[in-house]
Amino acid sequence: MSLYVDKYRPTSLQKLDYHLAQAQHLKNLVNQGDFPHLLFFGPPGSGKKTRIMALLRELYGPGVERLRMEQLNFTTPSNKKLDIMTVASNYHIEVNPSDAGIYDRVVVMDLIKNAAQTHQLDSSGQRDFKVIVLTEVDRLTKDAQHALRRTMEKYIATCRLILCANSISQVIPAIKSRCLAMRVPAPSIEQIKTILQQVSKKEGLNLPPELADRIAVKSDRNLRRAILMLETCKVQQYPFTPDQEVMEPDWLMFLRDTCKQILSEQSPKKLIDIRNRFYELLVHGIPTDIIFKVMLDELVKSCDSNLKAKVVDLAALYEYQMHQGSKVIFHIEAFVANFMSLYLNYLEESVMLE
């Protein structure tokens, strides 16, 4: 039994639920038989992957859905062996090069070279190029991105790249200018609601509109998360009641709780307690920029407007420094310590004024 998310994923461009104009554009692109390199970008859960797969299906037919997992081996110049998992069909290959860490350049170069040097044998009724899907391009090192730009031009005859990223701020301009960028905005709350209703109808569930509403709001406009939440709700309690609790991810609750603790007491002792909680989060692989975002949103709630600006300033500074450094815990802690001192001053001042 598969999850709803996979079960009801639209498989073709016609079946997409939103961004229909863009779907039509993509269809036009495929109909012309050839397309430039593409770069899809948008927030998580907005349907980038779904669109890519639908595009590939439109291009090659149902054969692209016969996927197989492959383990590829790469050797770095320093003779280090790397194993990368890829998902491939006869027509395309999908890789997340950032799995290779700092050696992503080797992966990108070797992979594209291998794929591009093999021509499609029976070109009748098929495209004469393969497609390489690279995910999380924004996490590629600059070195790999520069390597990509050279390989992209060199092998344009035998392969096309489809790049997928959350944001393109970290993608170098040279790559952006070589790709046709497709922006995939997050679905609106309304769109999420209709899709939730559609899914529950297909499952034969009765979803009260109020519940759908709350799931949609809590999902952070992330469709994948919304559908997963729906499924969790179903597991918890069915038939649904309109005032049913919508479960949030436990790390989110944990992080909120941490923020409450920060606001409740500002002392070195508390700071040490909180450090353990952050370690806990990091061990579970919660992305650090999400930690910062949630903390910021939670902490500013109990500040006045003057302090808010200062807190944002701090968050921006430490978040940036965190990306520069290699140990994230220092920067998170520095932010918390700074916030504590700011907040303590603020509280004292307001007591003085009274």
């Binding site: 397309f35 701020s169 970290q170 922006r183």
Partner: protein, 458 residues
């Protein structure tokens, strides 16, 4: 598909073509009419084998002048109708034999024109052009005369083409102004067919360390070039090394070039191309003739785009073209790329201004305006709401920051001090973003700081 239907259709096709070419009175049929008859025969059997009609029509256009076939057809009108009633192949053969004889008679009266014959042959041989060439490549200037706006360099190159000596060149200027195109066009005109062997083009994506300069460039430069082309016509006795994007060459590699450039002047000329002349070391700049390529004027870009639209049959709004010109900022390559992407995405539909904004990933002006306005109010919740919305809509943040900057600097209501302070924050934000900081926090920070500045002073 029955025989009658296809014959009628065929005849219609010929009629149509004949109308088009009625003025072409100079036409004379080719000499190898026997071959022609054979081809036509093959053609009819193809019809009988029920192959695709369109394919057949194409073959026939290549085989013969339509008017000629028409004449032939008309003389045998009766037979055709007979044939169409009778699908027996023996009758068919008899018909064609008869036809062949009549053709002989018909052609005896005509003079054989040799030129026509070669014309026919070339039309047969010519292959369809690769359809999916990027327009940037397709409409690259072919000759020096085609290069637009860069008057100084064009006049120098014309003298070179007229026989003057070619100095080393250094082209610099913003992207998309025709630097590479100019030198390639000049090389093509200088060397003609031998052009591929006479130039060595290295750009930033090629490995270009000091080793490559030492080996590849030196080896290429040491080979002498003859002063005649393979076909015997004269040609300048030197080769050209084009170092594209020379500003990304390492200092050591540039230094290695110094002496090589001087020593090999006999056989080789260098052309360095870069965006910023300041990143080329002094000894190299002093060895070259420097030309600055200025951004292209709006009029030039506009007329180019219109020309391409006409050639490619793209249906494009006038406003859309103006918008492309606007966002390209003198970069013709970008303008053409945007146009082609739009044309591809829209299929055959009309391209409007909104499409251009969407495809070139511009942020709608309204959004930036709203963001700055909510900063002016300086209410955190409102700013936060707007920022979240922008992140959800996935607008590229680097673009937003650029547009905020544009908006701020061109605003009349702000004082210079405010503008300066805000610009500082914009610079900080943009640099942090490029180094991988998260978009949400940084944009929020920028907006909050902007809010503070705007409130402080007003």
């Amino acid at each position: 598909m029955n025989m009658e239907g296809s014959n009628k259709k065929l005849k219609n096709e010929f009629n149509k073509l004949d109308n088009c070419q009625a003025n072409d009175s100079n036409f004379q049929p080719g000499s190898d009419y026997k071959q022609l008859i054979k081809d036509i025969k093959k053609f009819t059997t193809l019809i009988q084998e029920k192959k695709v009609e369109d394919e057949l029509f194409k073959t026939v256009y290549n085989i013969a002048h339509p008017r000629f076939v028409k004449e032939l057809w008309d003389t045998d009108g009766d037979n055709v109708s007979e044939l169409s009633l009778n699908s027996d192949t023996s009758a068919d053969e008899a018909y064609w034999k008869d036809l062949e004889q009549k053709m002989d008679a018909f052609l005896k009266n005509k003079k054989i024109n040799k030129e026509e014959k070669t014309d026919l042959k070339t039309s047969k041989d010519s292959k369809p052009e690769v359809p999916n060439k990027p327009w940037v490549e397709k409409y690259r200037p072919k000759t020096v005369d085609d290069v637009v706006e860069q008057t100084e360099i064009v006049s120098v190159l014309k003298q070179v083409l007229g026989g003057a000596d070619l100095p080393h060149f250094l082209f610099y200027g913003p992207p998309g102004t025709g630097k590479t195109s100019t030198i390639l066009a000049a090389a093509r005109e200088l060397f003609g067919n031998a052009f591929r062997d006479r130039i060595l083009e290295l750009n930033a994506s090629d490995d270009r360390g000091i080793q490559v300069i030492r080996d590849k460039v030196k080896n290429f430069a040491q080979l002498t070039a003859s002063s005649v082309r393979p076909d015997g016509s004269p040609c300048p006795p030197y080769k050209i090394v084009i170092l594209d994007e020379a500003d990304s060459m390492t200092g050591a590699a540039q230094a290695a070039l110094r002496r090589t450039m001087e020593k090999e002047t006999k056989t080789t000329r260098f052309c360095l191309i870069c965006n910023y002349v300041s990143s080329i070391i002094e000894p190299l700049t002093s060895r070259c003739m420097k030309f600055r390529f200025k951004p292209l004027g709006t009029y030039v870009i506009k007329s180019r785009l219109e020309m391409i639209c006409k050639e490619e049959g793209v249906n494009c709004d006038m406003n859309a073209i103006s918008k492309i010109v606007d966002i390209s900022e003198g970069d013709l390559r970008q303008a053409i790329t945007v146009l082609q992407s739009c044309a591809r995405l829209k299929g055959g539909d009309k391209i409007t201004e909104d499409d251009i904004v969407e495809i070139s990933n511009l942020v709608p002006e309204g959004l930036v305006f709203d963001l700055v306005e909510s900063c002016k109010e300086n209410v955190y919740e409102k700013i936060q709401l707007r920022v979240t919305k922008i992140i959800y809509e996935a607008y590229p943040l680097s673009q937003i920051v650029t547009q905020i900057h544009k908006y701020i600097t061109s605003s009349n209501s702000l004082t210079d001090v405010q503008k300066a302070k805000i610009s500082e924050y914009i610079a900080e934000c943009s640099s942090r973003l490029q180094r991988g900081a998260s978009e949400y926090t940084q944009l929020l920070h920028l907006c909050c700081s902007m809010g503070n500045i705007l409130q402080e002073e007003s």
